[in-house]
Subunit: 208 residues, 2 copies
């Protein structure tokens, strides 16, 4: 399979969301021109991005909305089933758990990990909380795919150093800390709040 | 001033964080090769990115860490002062407020807006909560720069439609909803959790 550039992958969720919205509005077909206007994209960009996945290269094209959104979903793996855990059930972690089925379907969150004795044995958003000391064993035993990391920044690397030898396959990292993963075969997806705010800051300062 | 590509702007916070960490470790100078290894970047990429801002184009170069981090901070506008409000103090909003001074220095958060009568008049993370009905007037009166939007998805566009005519200059959008801003001169910076998770999902599914 061709190696699709990361910047193309990052635009696909927007395309998928837009097609889902059109589908929910009862639309069945959309011209490439209309879709581009809706996406605020140049026609050439959309054609180029979609050309990675099939023969969508004609200049004027009418898309079958349902077919294209299923194709994008297939590419993004939205029908795969993955197991997940969450480490650090603070406010952001709890908010993610509460809204999780809203975000994506095929995830089972099997456990939440914390070190606070008062929380261990309780549930957060319906998911049992386990002692962080048992994190590595749990990941190994249940062959967990994804760890959602919402621990404080200073604890981030320690948690990663437990997860990686236990065989975790992906880390969704909210800690604002860059993780060192060595040469482990682990997908790390960062949500760096501070980087996002600095980008906003740049564009705002430039307007001054 | 030259128009710096957005993908370069998005890498600068990582450079700045890395230089700050080196500075905190007591380092004063670093060779371009060492810095690239630390950043997991090609030397050509770093040279090219920094060439937007000054004469850092030599193949082998030793950076003055403190000078370069100040220069990057200046470019990103980290010393500017901005006023902010937060709309929708749920778990994510509250977490952001609690950790805000950790993220960036020059922001004053002047108000939080919600529609729950029980919350109006209280404080969240030390910031007073006002009735959402007064949002537009508050933004106008206090010339607010930035609105942090952490309302539910379905309410997002309504809030934007109040903020924009009131003169808001930037929106930091956590609602997972793409905002229509027409031709308003507003910086919109999105943190789309679902897009990030779909990208992770793609890379994980590809490993299967």
């Amino acid at each position: 399979m061709k190696q699709i550039p990361d910047e193309v992958i990052r635009r696909l969720p927007l395309y998928l969301r837009t097609l889902d919205a059109l589908y929910d509005e009862g639309e069945t077909r959309i011209s490439s021109g209309q879709l581009c206007r809706r996406l605020h994209l140049k026609a050439s960009q959309l054609r180029q991005d979609l050309s990675w996945f099939g023969d969508y290269s004609q200049q004027a094209f009418t898309y079958d909305i349902d077919a294209l959104r299923h194709e994008l979903g297939r590419i993004l793996g939205t029908h795969e089933e993955f197991s997940a855990i969450l480490v650090g059930p603070g406010k952001i972690g709890t908010a993610l758990l509460e809204h999780f089925d809203f975000i994506v379907d095929g995830y089972s969150v099997l456990g939440v990990f914390d070190k606070a004795p008062g929380l261990v044995g309780q549930e957060v958003a319906g998911v049992p909380v386990y002692d962080i000391e048992t994190l590595g064993d749990f990941v190994r035993e249940h062959k967990i795919d994804i760890a959602i990391m919402t621990v404080p920044r200073f604890a981030a690397q320690d948690v990663a150093d437990t997860l990686i030898p236990a065989g975790i396959r992906a880390i969704w990292n909210f800690t604002n800390q860059d993780l060192r993963i060595g040469d482990a075969d682990v997908v790390v997806e960062n949500i760096h709040f501070s980087d996002s705010l600095l980008a906003l800051n740049y564009y705002l300062a430039k307007k001054n």
